[in-house]
C-alpha cells in the first residue's frame, strides 16, 4: 500500500512539473531586466512587459474579449453544424459519403493559408472582411473537422435502439433529441468544443487576413512581438494567452459539472 502511495504522489508531482516547466522560463523572461548569458536567472526583475500588456494602451483586454467572443460563436455554430453532420455521416450510408467526409476533414490536412487567400477575395466581394462575422466564418473551416470528429465518435456509441426506446415511450423527435441523444453526445460536444475554442483562439493568419486588422484578437497583438524579438513582452503575452485558454477550458469544465450537479440535485429532490 505504502510504496503505491509513494509512486502515486511522485507521478502526480512529475506530471505537475512537466506541465508547468515550460511556463517557468516564460515567467522569468517576462519579468527579466538585463538577463544576460550565462546567468540562469535574471539579475533583476522589471514589470515593464506586464505593465505594457496589462495596463498600457495595448488594448489587451479588448482583444481578449474579442478572442473569446469569436471562439464562443465559432463553437456554437460548430455544434449546430456538427451534430446533424455527424448524425448523417455515422448513421446513413449514401452516395458520395466519402467525398463529404473528405471535404469536412480536409482543413486538418490542407494548410489554412491555401484556402484563406481564396476566402479573402470572396469575403471582400461579400463585404465580410474586417467584420467579426467574417472572421467567425473563416474560423469554421479549421475548427469544424475536430467538432465533427468528436461528435461522430459519440454517435458511434449511440445505438438507434436508444431512440427507438424513447420513441416507444412516447417521445417525439424533439424530446428524443433533447432527452436522449443530447445527453449522450454531451461529452463529445464538450471535447469538440474545447478543441474548437483552442483552435479558434490561436488562429493568427486567418484572423489577420480576414479581419484585416479591424478584428483584433490576442494572437494579432501577440504575433508581432514574437517575431519582432521583444522576448519580455512576447513572454508576457504568451502567458496571458495560455491563461486565457486555460481559464476558458476550466470555465467549460465548471459549467459541465454544474450541469450534471443540477441534474443530480433535481432528481434527488424529486
Amino acid at each position: 500500500m505504502k510504496p503505491q502511495l509513494f509512486i502515486k504522489i511522485s507521478l502526480s508531482l512529475l506530471v505537475f512539473l512537466l506541465m508547468f516547466l515550460p511556463f517557468i522560463p516564460l515567467i522569468l523572461s517576462s519579468l527579466s531586466f538585463g538577463w544576460q548569458w550565462p546567468a540562469i536567472i535574471p539579475d533583476s526583475i522589471s514589470f515593464r512587459a506586464w505593465d505594457y500588456v496589462l495596463f498600457g494602451s495595448s488594448g489587451t483586454w479588448q482583444a481578449v474579449g474579442v478572442s473569446l467572443l469569436i471562439a464562443l460563436i465559432v463553437t456554437i455554430i460548430n455544434i449546430l453544424l456538427a451534430v446533424p453532420a455527424a448524425n448523417a455521416l455515422v448513421r446513413n450510408s449514401f452516395r458520395g459519403k466519402w467525398l463529404m467526409e473528405a471535404i469536412i476533414f480536409a482543413p486538418i490536412i490542407i494548410p489554412p493559408f491555401v484556402a484563406v487567400m481564396g476566402i479573402h477575395l470572396t469575403f471582400l466581394k461579400l463585404g465580410l472582411t474586417e467584420t467579426i462575422v467574417g472572421v467567425v466564418l473563416a474560423h469554421l473551416s479549421p475548427t469544424l473537422p475536430y467538432m465533427v470528429r468528436a461528435i461522430m465518435i459519440s454517435y458511434q456509441t449511440l445505438s438507434v435502439d436508444w431512440e427507438d426506446q424513447a420513441r416507444m415511450l412516447g417521445a417525439g423527435p424533439v424530446s428524443r433529441f433533447t432527452l436522449v441523444v443530447l445527453p449522450h453526445l454531451l461529452p463529445g460536444i464538450v471535447a469538440g468544443a474545447s478543441l474548437s475554442i483552442l483552435i479558434s483562439l490561436s488562429q493568427y493568419l486567418i484572423t489577420f487576413i480576414i479581419g484585416s486588422g479591424q478584428v483584433v484578437t490576442l494572437s494579432i497583438l501577440l504575433f508581432p512581438f514574437i517575431s519582432g524579438g521583444d522576448p519580455a513582452i512576447a513572454s508576457a503575452y504568451s502567458l496571458l494567452f495560455a491563461g486565457m485558454a486555460i481559464m476558458t477550458l476550466f470555465g467549460l469544465d465548471v459549467l459541465l459539472k454544474k450541469y450534471y450537479q443540477q441534474k443530480k440535485a433535481v432528481t434527488n429532490k424529486g
Partner: protein
C-alpha cells in the same frame, strides 16, 4: 374489445440489412391477438420475428398491410403515438436519469405532472420489487434489476400492447426463470396484451397463452403450447420444438407404415395418403413390465437400450428399434431395472401416435 390485429403485413428487404442477416422477406402475415393475451413469436434468429415486432411497433414501415387495435387503424400512426410499450434485449435505461426518472419517462412524455408521475413510478417500482432503488442511477444496478426497471418503465403508462424483444436472453439462466415468473404475475395483474419475441421454446411455453412458430418470414403454426407440442402440424415445427422421435413412413389405405417396417398401425380416415412422419413424444412411450396394464388400443415395440442419461428427475433413454432411434423418458425406478444392451418392450397409446404429412 381492443384486440391487436395484424392484417396482411409484409415487408421485403432488398439488401441484407446486416451482414449476418441474409436478405429475406416477411411474407404476408395475418394474426389477431386478443386483449390481455400473452402471445409469443418463437423462431430461430433471422426468421423475421423481430422485424414483425418492429412492424407492429411502427419502428419499421411495412410494404403492405395494416395494423389495427380495436377499431382503430394504427398503420399510419407514428410509434410514439401508438401507446405501445417495448422492452428490448438490453434494458436501455437512460444512463443520465435516475431509476425513478427512467420509469416516469413515459408519463413525462404524456405531460403528466411531476408529482403524479413520480408517485406512479414508485408504485410501479414496488411491483417489480425495486421500491428502494428509485434514486439510484442505472449503472448501480445489476442486469436483472435493470431489466426489471425496463419492465416497470414500459408498463407505467398503461400501454395497450407490451412488445418484448428477447428481454431475458442476456440474463443468467436462473435469473431468467425468476424474471419469467415476475412477468407472468405482472401480466395477469395488469391484464396487458403482450407480444413476446423469443428463440427459447421453454420460455415461450412457460409464458404464453398462444405461440406462433416462425421460420423464414412466415408462420408455421399458431396455437397454445400444448397444441403445438402434442399436435405439431409439420416435422419442422416438431423438430424446432425439440421433438426427436420423428419416424419417416407412408400412409396408405388407412395404415401408417414406417420405412423400416417397425411401426405399423391404423390411422384416422382423415389422414392423407402419401409420405408421412410419425411423431412420438418421449413421455408417451411406456415401459412394458409384468404388472403394466395392457392397452386397449395402441402399439407395442421392441428396442435395444443404447444409452441412458439422467435428466433432472427422470431418465432419458435412447433405444434403437429397427432402423429408427427413439428417445423415451422413464422414471428413475423404471430405469433402475435397465442396462445398456438390454432388449425392452415399449407401448404407446393410439391417441399419442401423431402422423403428419409435410
Amino acid at each position: 374489445m381492443s384486440d391487436l390485429r395484424i392484417i396482411n403485413v409484409e415487408k421485403q428487404y432488398k439488401q441484407p440489412q446486416q451482414k449476418d442477416n441474409p436478405a429475406f422477406s416477411l411474407h404476408p402475415i395475418n394474426l389477431t391477438i386478443h386483449e390481455g393475451e400473452f402471445f409469443s413469436l418463437l423462431g430461430p434468429s433471422g426468421c423475421g420475428k423481430t422485424s414483425l415486432l418492429k412492424l407492429v411497433a411502427g419502428l419499421l414501415q411495412a410494404d403492405n398491410g395494416e395494423i389495427w387495435i380495436g377499431d382503430q387503424n394504427l398503420t399510419q400512426v407514428p410509434s410514439e403515438a401508438r401507446n405501445f410499450a417495448m422492452v428490448f434485449q438490453q434494458s436501455l435505461l437512460f444512463p443520465h436519469m435516475t431509476v425513478e426518472d427512467n420509469v416516469a419517462f413515459g408519463l413525462k412524455m404524456q405531460k403528466v405532472d411531476k408529482k403524479q408521475r413520480l408517485s406512479k413510478a414508485r408504485d410501479m417500482l414496488e411491483h417489480v420489487g425495486l421500491q428502494s432503488f428509485g434514486s439510484r442511477f442505472p449503472d448501480e444496478l445489476s442486469g436483472g434489476q435493470q431489466q426489471r426497471v425496463a419492465l416497470a418503465r414500459a408498463l407505467v403508462a398503461n400501454p395497450r400492447v407490451l412488445l418484448m424483444d428477447e428481454p431475458f436472453s442476456a440474463l443468467d439462466p436462473g435469473l431468467r426463470e425468476e424474471m419469467r415468473d415476475l412477468l407472468s404475475r405482472i401480466q395477469l395483474e395488469f391484464h396487458v396484451t403482450v407480444l413476446f419475441v423469443t428463440h427459447d421454446r421453454e420460455e415461450a411455453f412457460s409464458l404464453s397463452d398462444r405461440i406462433a412458430v416462425m421460420s423464414r418470414g412466415e408462420f408455421l403454426q399458431v396455437g397454445t403450447a400444448k397444441e403445438l407440442y402434442e399436435r405439431p402440424l409439420t416435422t419442422k415445427v416438431a423438430s424446432f420444438l425439440g421433438l426427436k422421435n420423428i419416424i419417416e413412413g407412408n400412409v396408405e389405405s388407412g395404415y401408417f407404415r414406417s420405412t423400416d417396417g417397425s411401426f405399423e398401425f391404423i390411422v384416422d380416415a382423415t389422414t392423407k395418403n402419401g409420405l408421412s412422419c410419425l411423431i412420438v413424444r418421449p413421455e408417451a412411450m411406456q415401459l412394458v413390465t409384468e404388472d403394466s396394464p395392457t392397452l386397449i388400443s395402441g402399439i407395442q415395440i421392441q428396442g435395444i437400450v443404447e444409452q441412458m442419461k439422467f435428466n433432472h428427475g427422470f431418465y432419458s433413454v435412447k433405444i434403437s428399434a429397427g432402423e429408427s432411434h427413439l428417445t423415451c423418458s422413464l422414471t428413475s425406478q423404471q430405469a433402475a431395472t435397465l442396462c445398456v444392451g438390454q432388449t425392452i418392450a415399449l407401448q404407446i397409446e393410439k391417441k399419442e401416435l401423431w402422423v403428419v404429412n409435410d
